[in-house]
Amino acid sequence: MSYGTKVLDHYENPRNVGVLDKDDPNVGTGMVGAPACGDVMRLQIRVNDDGVIEEAKFKTYGCGSAIASSSLLTEWVMGKTLEEAAKIKNTELAEELALPPVKIHCSVLAESAIKAAIKDFQDKQQDTKQ
């Protein structure tokens, strides 16, 4: 697979690799994909009291496009409100990275990851209120 420069850049220098405390009530964790399918993404976000994502970390098992998609996603969600972050579309990620058609599913997975992380955060907030 020959990739564009943006995928290679994110692959060689992935941004925001790491782990946040999944038990922290301000942290939402989204893990999507499956080892048998060849890709698993774990995206974590830390949300401040204003509902703004102030930190995002990821780890990804997968091909170059999967790693690049999740790395780019962490850059995009930081500083966004949950509402704004939830609106990120896989097509925008795919376009930015110039993913080849056979790799579009990697950007779909990244979109699922942010949605899952937001949902996890919101579920936790519900639990704390109750």
């Binding site: 692959y11 060849g38 698993v40 990804t60 997968g62």
Partner: protein, 404 residues
Amino acid sequence: MHLPIYLDYAATTPVDPRVADKMMEYLAPTGKFGNPASRSHQFGWDAEAAVEEARVSVAALINADPKDIVWTSGATEADNLAIKGVAHFYQKKGKHLITSKTEHKAVLDTCRQLEREGFEVTYLDPEPNGLIDLNKLSDAIRKDTILVSLMHVNNEIGVIADIAAMGELTRSKGVLFHVDAAQSTGKVAIDVDNMQVDLISMSAHKTYGPKGIGALYVRRKPRVRIEPQMHGGGHERGMRSGTLATHQIVGMGEAFRLAKLEMAEEQTRLLALRNRFWDGLKDLEEIYINGDLEHRIAGNLNISFAFVEGESLIMALKELAVSSGSACTSASLEPSYVLRAIGRPDELAHSSIRFSFGRFTTAEEIDYVIPLIRSKINKLRELSPLWDMYKEGIDLNTIKWDSH
């Protein structure tokens, strides 16, 4: 040392410079460029002599009679000609064939085509070590079985089948036996008589010859009949028409002549290199060799690096030329069917890399490659959520993944 380092000899080999030099003599106006079928002048006679000399060399590598060698465009065509040729000729005798799930696509897709034509095919399951159980083969043979087609050496995992035992079985049951030897010529000794084989497919470009040329051995004693698949001028005793590609044939002949001379020494050297390679990696956690290590050609090592996806590892190893069983390196998004067939879980198939070593691989290259692989594996594992979970002692099989 040149970068990138070529460790994909199972995909193709470079043409040996000695072979290339010889091929050059059969192309230009000052060379022997004639059509070997031209019977009326020196140009044709010279070309024909060269083709026949090459035929002797190819036959010698498998201890066959040169008259039993039919030139083809490669192993794919040889597989097609052998399997379809036998099936079409003997279909009144029976319409059942046997092969295995780990064969090359040239065999599998040919069998699929025959199924569409009304033949029945049994696809044997290999054992977890990649080899076919002789008893299972024996049980699969029926009264209407006309052909067994099995490979000598597997292209992905390099395991060597016991062809002699299979040949003894098929001969005793009166069933024809075709062997795809694309990956074994020059690596494992082949003797058509000791092995009791009826048809053998061969390729030049896996054995330091040029691409675009191969051969099919078709036994004449006892006689094996095949229906031609390419019709025309009646070349190759009517079995494969088409003007012979003299320079390609000369290349294959010279490559196979050298293979016979140098095989023993070369395999010893390659085994030492492979051991050196494996010794440098084997203490890494959670890595697995795919396929039997003992019954295996010296030049192949197929390793799964758990928790690291194959394509991303290939990207990280851009100074190496290797191939992966990961879906992400194929258009189909399916991981290697060979690794699946030997029972490897999909996640290990996605994490597999095939390293294949050959004539021009050096110890210096191996020593360069080992620390490179180690550091990239560690880097990608640091990036892998699965590695984190493994380190935390979580059994990944207990997690409910959302398959997509």
